[in-house]
């Protein structure tokens, strides 16, 4: 899973739409599966206990379905979301294109970046990924948060987007 991290030089061909690394798909799948399985456990267990007039195999099957189906569905969605997420660093700034049904393409110009955060969760760390948060002074889009970047890419993006020291914030 981390194999392609080596053959992916940071920002080599910036300027084209870039997909997220396959490791991001894995991380998103794991994260969604975990977040779906935990609450489903309680429901599945309750159903298993409550439905005591059914035969044991049937009860087991129903409980397993309740436990697994939402997780499978959500993992499928996460994978589709991964497929549809692309980013690009061009002359203007950072562009991120994402969304399955409601699609959006955000453009944060380099000159409007206020500050940047890099976040690395425990699962992300294991796969060498990072989340980039680009803060602007805006209202609805005050932070553009995108997870699933290669660590090296995220660091390079941060360095490329850092506001220049002598910028005068005339737009505020």
């Amino acid at each position: 899973m981390t194999a392609d991290a080596t053959d992916h030089p940071a920002l080599a061909d910036a300027g084209d739409w870039q997909p997220l690394p396959p490791a991001a798909r894995t991380v998103w799948s794991i994260a969604t599966a975990l977040s779906a399985l935990l609450p489903a456990t309680a429901v599945a267990f309750t159903v298993f206990v409550a439905a005591d007039d059914l035969s044991l195999p049937l009860r087991l099957a129903v409980a397993a379905a309740i436990w697994l189906l939402p997780a499978l569905l959500l993992v499928g969605l996460a994978r589709a979301r991964w497929r549809r997420t692309h980013w690009q660093l061009d002359a203007n700034g950072l562009r991120v294109r994402r969304g399955l049904l409601w699609r959006s393409e955000v453009l944060v110009p380099r000159s409007r970046v206020q500050h940047l955060d890099l976040e690395r969760g425990p699962i992300e760390r294991r796969f060498g990924l990072a989340t980039l948060v680009v803060h602007t002074a805006g209202t609805r889009m005050h932070a553009l948060r995108q997870s699933g970047f290669h660590d090296a890419d995220a660091v390079a993006l941060r360095d490329a987007l850092l506001p220049e020291a002598d910028r005068h914030d005339d737009s505020l």
Binding site: N92, L101, S104, P109, G138, T139, M141, L172
Partner: protein, 500 residues
């Protein structure tokens, strides 16, 4: 330490607030504790409860007096230094340059003692940089002058000799404020709140209920059966409408009496209020986005209202900040104001471009679907009379067509503008250099119609106003517009400090 009688000036010693400030701090604290105290007074009948209430009040008084003794400030050349705190000391340095708004607030009590509450606000923060409760009026005005003076002295205290003359940009007379009351729905909001309280307090049953019943009974007493009913109900409705409007007018008079918008150098300041007087200041360059609104009643009076977003976040939900440049003014006056305050000075825009030719269908679709569902349900429940709901459909279609004909966008002279609405018309516009980010989005329906929405995000956008966004644009046009805007945003921002 400098005594309070000396005028405020840079380089002076440390000062305290007005000697009476403990009283206003106490009132403020009582306000936030008002509910528990009322519960104590009326709820607990036992003696011990009253005793505890007394102890609580005593603690508050001591806290207020302590706060007065431990709050000190010093004026320096480039800002104000404030020391405060009894146990947890804090030292805060607020540079004049960061101060966006100096807000003066005077209730009747403040005016009685000739003092004012002063608030220094900066960009972005959720809290005011400094809240001075209270200063003598002379001190408050001196502080206001200092901030203002810094604005045009640009750091050096040299040019202080000739403060630019102030100029009135807009003044509302009483007739205009009454019109504002008629236009606004302030009364409705208060009435809704009052209704909630009255419902609790049985006033509804004891007083309002019988009078409504009386009116209906009177109508029935005229031996006219359903006609009597109708007259009775109409009378009640009419009374409610008139009462709400009167309430709105009273509130408008209270809040906006004597509204004046003045300009001094690069600073705008607005003053208003009948009993509680407010004065807010803002540098012109802090205006982020504009919002022009013309409702149905506005149009009857041939008036519009003009609002702006400023860079401070709290401005959105705080009535003390300068947001309403023109609560109500003639369209010409609004245009004149915009032209005067916009650096480029292009307004009104001439070239409006229409949306997607099928935009009206998008406005029609969902309400029509809802109407059909409602009609179906009503017919199922009440029989054929439910089909009358379908009469709404032509109205909805008319609304959608009118909406689409008025809707449009424009991009001209470094300004992007969007207009929407049918009975209630709104114009939102923003300078391109003030845009923070661009979001192009497509819902599933958008994709079917080959449309897209372009959102232009700005600083401090009020949640009350629609965002600056163009809906139902043909995709190609939306992408072209975004490319043009992105290029324009990337160019070096035009200097905001153009000579006024």
């Amino acid at each position: 330490m400098t005594t309070a009688s000396e005028p405020i000036a840079p380089g002076g010693g440390e000062r305290r607030l007005h000697p009476l400030s403990w009283l206003f701090v106490l009132i403020q604290q009582l306000k936030s504790f008002a509910l528990p105290l009322l519960v104590l007074l009326f709820g607990g009948r036992g003696n011990s409860w009253e005793l505890w209430g007394l102890v609580g009040a005593g603690v508050l008084v001591v806290a207020a007096v302590l706060q007065y003794f431990f709050y000190r400030f010093r004026i320096e050349g480039d800002g104000i230094v404030i020391r405060s705190g009894v146990f947890q000391k804090s030292l805060r340095h607020v540079p004049w340059q960061r101060v966006h708004n100096v807000a003066l607030h005077q209730t009747v009590l403040h005016r009685l003692f000739n003092v004012a509450e002063v608030r220094l606000e900066s960009a972005g923060g959720m809290k005011a940089e400094a809240e001075m409760r209270v200063l003598s009026l002379a001190d408050a005005q001196a502080l206001e002058e200092l901030v203002r003076g810094h604005e045009h002295a640009t750091g050096a205290a040299v040019a202080e000799a000739t403060p630019p003359a102030s100029r009135v940009l807009l003044a509302m007379d009483t007739g205009e404020v009454v019109r504002l009351g008629l236009v606004s729905n302030r009364g409705l909001i208060v009435a809704a709140a009052a209704f909630g309280i009255l419902a609790q307090a049985d006033v509804l049953d004891d007083w309002i209920g019988p009078s409504v019943k009386g009116a209906v009974e009177w109508g029935r007493g005229q031996q006219l059966d359903w006609l009597g009913w109708a007259i009775g109900i109409t009378g009640v409705l009419l009374a409610v409408v008139v009462a709400l409007r009167l309430l709105s007018i009273a509130l408008a008079l209270l809040q906006f009496h004597g509204f004046t918008l003045t300009e001094q150098g690069r600073r705008l300041s607005a003053q208003r209020g009948l009993l509680t007087r407010l004065r807010a200041n803002m540098p012109r360059s802090r205006i982020q986005a504009w919002s022009l609104h013309e409702g149905l009643v506005h149009r009857w009076f041939k008036r519009r209202s003009l609002r702006v977003d400023s860079a401070s976040v709290q401005a959105a939900n705080d009535q003390r900040s300068l947001r309403e440049l023109a609560p109500l003014a003639t369209p010409e006056a609004c245009d004149e104001l915009v032209r005067h305050l916009l650096p480029g000075g292009h307004w009104p825009l001439r070239e409006w471009r229409p949306l997607h030719p099928r935009a009206w269908r998008r406005q029609f679709g969902l309400p029509a679907l809802a109407t059909l569902l409602l009609a179906g349900q009503l017919t199922w429940l009440n029989g054929a009379i439910g089909l009358a709901t379908l009469a709404l459909l032509p109205l909805l279609a008319l609304r959608a067509v009118v909406w689409a004909r008025h809707a449009g966008y424009s991009e001209e002279g470094g300004l992007v503008a969007v207009r929407e609405g049918w009975l209630d018309k709104r114009w939102r516009f923003v300078e391109v250099r003030r845009i923070q980010s661009l979001v192009l989005s497509q819902s599933p329906l958008d994709r079917r119609h080959d449309m897209a929405t372009l959102l232009m995000d700005t600083v401090g956008a009020s949640p009350l106003d629609p965002p600056v966004r163009v809906r139902y644009l043909p995709v190609a046009e939306a992408e072209a517009l975004r490319a043009r805007l992105a290029a324009a945003m990337d160019a070096r921002p035009t200097p905001a400090r153009t000579a006024a």
